[in-house]
């Protein structure tokens, strides 16, 4: 059973008389442990696809199965529970809570699944340690560099042991050196912990780190390459 199975996903926005097709008939499968880059120009539908994968958005057509579960029949709260358990998000703008310490930012997803405060603290500390931020637990986002903030965000994505990390332009706000460090961290998480990582980028050197590159254009998949295996989709 594939981890992610998208069958004929459609997302149509209706503006007046014109139907705008953000996603037209996208079918993809991804297995556990994959490291996928989704590329494409702005407006190609890659972010919309990521939102669907992340259960933040519902497709207007098609079927999206996550670990074999059809997400189409789930309500708002059930989708929230899936996001909490299965998916970690990393955003371009970090999206950390300001005026809140790194530790509490990492604890955030655990507030919504009933862990005790002791467990929350332990898990958050070990997640921060795994992204190399030991000793910075008490720092607030504005006391951290961009790279460090993104590490906090990654720790937040890891803390519930979610099998999938969705990263939307995770290096978009970072310089080249820090970008490389963040990508190394993703590679390490992928190889050592077998976490499925799907990231959206438009930089080819970032996509170089990934094992599979999917390209979007006008709401359709135009290419799907797996590196080292030479299979074309």
């Amino acid at each position: 059973m594939p981890l992610i199975e998208a069958k004929g996903i459609q997302k149509v926005y209706r503006t007046g008389d014109i139907d705008l097709c953000a996603l037209c008939d996208v079918s993809l499968t991804m297995d556990k442990g994959e490291f996928v880059a989704i590329m494409g120009q702005s407006g190609s539908g890659k972010s919309t696809f990521m939102n669907v994968l992340g259960c933040l958005d519902k497709p207007t057509g098609g079927q999206y199965l996550l670990e074999g579960i059809d997400t189409g029949g789930l309500d708002r709260d059930e989708l929230a529970a899936i996001r909490n358990r299965k998916i970690g998000f990393v955003f371009q703008g970090f999206n950390l809570l300001s005026r809140t310490s790194a530790l509490e930012n990492v604890e955030l997803p655990m507030l919504y699944n009933g862990l005790s405060s002791k467990e929350r603290r332990q898990n958050a500390l070990s997640a921060l340690k795994s992204v190399g931020l030991e000793g910075r637990e008490g720092h607030h986002p504005n006391q951290l560099s961009g790279g460090q903030q993104q590490r906090v965000a990654i720790a937040r994505a890891l803390v519930n042991n979610a099998p999938i990390i969705l990263a939307d332009e995770p290096t978009g706000n970072l310089d080249t050196k820090t970008s490389a460090e963040i990508m190394e961290l993703f590679v390490k998480l992928n190889t050592e912990s077998n976490i499925t990582i799907i990231l959206v980028t438009h930089e080819t050197d970032i996509a170089e780190y990934c094992k599979r590159v999917i390209r979007f254009l006008d709401g359709r998949v135009v290419s799907d390459e797996k590196k080292g295996l030479g299979i074309r989709g």
Partner: protein, 409 residues
């Protein structure tokens, strides 16, 4: 599965970050709760004061006064005619089953002298039953007896005001005072009662046996006539029947025909006072209702601030939703914020209300009484305001689209 302690912490932090704003929002609730408590305290205090005055009059008291004289069609007002007699007083006690005690009253104003001090005061002739009718106790000495009444002894009871004016610090019991130049022996001192409901000092009085008053002090042209009869009914339930029985009996005794007017008036003071108390209760409710309006306005203030807060924190709500916050997690967070504002505001408001009512009591000299019920009422109402005005902003927050919220700048 909603995590209450951490939701509480999130809410407290959000309020703490915007200290000034939270404090001003609370001020609305503080004023509202404070006003409700202070207004109810003023109203309850007024009722209480009326109740106390009723009890100083003596419970279940009925007064019978003579009717008006009429000279050539000019009617002179109640009490101008001398129609009541000692016989009437005795008959009321004997023949009206709803009556427990009767005290005849006869009196006037007289100059009282002790040593080099003198004082003009009301001198009342009555029987020992007076003390029972008026629920009046002695603070020193003894009351006069039926024997004193029979033999018209020259003894008297002094009110506290008279004692203060004539004796200063000395013990008056056993001393001789002169009332209208006639020497009287002081045998007892009446307990201080304070003002009656009409504001008259009840302690500025001297009581002597009724016969002594008739024969030695206020010799009337119609011997046996008295100014007033005070009657105590057996209980509050007996007041109406006592009034009816007295009226029937006196009409009979005075031979008043079917179509003639009464030559006396029966006054039921307790009922009059109860009516006054009732109206002061209505007043209390009215004051409370007006004060509640300010509490309502305070609630609208909370709603306003919560709406601003939801808009400001759209992005935060988006992040929370992305990491798995459910509808009620978000809703509860904002409801708790609103509740915290109204709760803390309520507590401070209670303190403010109690202090205000004490200041009012101090400055205006009114009796104020903070009842536990009014505290409970104001506090419960502020909680209700918090929930009801906090719900809409919280509801709005929980329905945000996570993608839109994450993009919000």
């Amino acid at each position: 599965m909603i995590n209450i302690p951490s939701t509480l912490r999130i809410s407290f932090r959000a309020l703490w970050v915007n200290k000034m704003r939270s404090a001003l929002t609370m001020l609305g609730i503080i004023i509202g709760v404070g006003a409700v408590i202070a207004m109810l305290a003023v109203g309850t205090g007024a009722s209480k004061q009326i109740q106390q005055q009723i009890s100083t009059l003596g419970s279940n008291l009925i007064m019978v006064v003579p009717g008006a004289t009429s000279a050539g069609g000019v009617r002179m007002g109640a009490g101008t005619q001398s129609t009541l007699t000692m016989g009437d007083a005795d008959a009321i006690l004997k023949e009206c089953p709803a009556v427990s005690e009767v005290a005849p009253v006869l009196g006037g104003v007289g100059q009282v002298i002790y040593g080099n001090q003198n004082w003009s005061t009301g001198v009342t002739g009555t029987t020992p039953a007076m003390l029972i009718v008026r629920d009046w106790k002695l603070s020193a000495g003894r009351a006069f007896t039926e024997q004193d009444v029979k033999s018209a002894t020259k003894v008297c009871l002094l009110g506290q005001t008279v004692v203060d004016k004539l004796f200063g610090g000395l013990d008056p019991v056993g001393q001789i005072v002169r009332i209208k130049k006639i020497p009287f022996k002081v045998i007892g001192i009446l307990e201080a009662k304070g003002q009656d409901p009409r504001g008259q000092d009840q302690d500025d009085a001297i009581y002597v046996p009724v016969t002594t008053a008739q024969k030695k002090l206020f010799g009337t042209s119609f011997p046996g006539m008295i100014r007033m009869i005070m009657v105590k009914a057996k209980s509050t339930e007996h007041l109406d029947s006592a009034e009816r029985q007295i009226t029937e009996l006196l009409r009979q005794r005075h031979r008043i025909g079917q179509k003639q007017e009464n030559d006396f008036t029966v006054r039921n003071l307790t009922q009059m006072m109860q009516a006054a108390e009732q109206s002061s209760k209505v007043m209390t409710m009215l004051l409370g209702a007006i004060a509640s309006v300010s509490l309502l306005v305070g609630g609208i203030g909370i709603m306003n601030i919560m709406l601003v807060s939801v808009t400001e924190r759209t992005r935060e709500i988006g992040i929370r939703m992305a990491v798995g916050a459910k509808t009620w997690d978000i809703r509860l967070q904002f409801i708790i914020e609103a509740l915290t504002l109204s709760f803390i505001g309520g507590v401070i408001g209670i303190i403010a209300g109690i202090s205000t009512s004490q200041i009012i009591a101090e400055l205006a000299g009114w009796t104020t009484l903070v009842s536990p019920l009014s505290i409970l009422l104001a506090f419960g109402f502020s909680g209700l305001v918090g929930i009801s005005f906090g719900f809409y902003p919280a509801y709005k927050a929980s329905l945000l689209d996570p993608i839109e919220a994450l993009r919000y700048e």
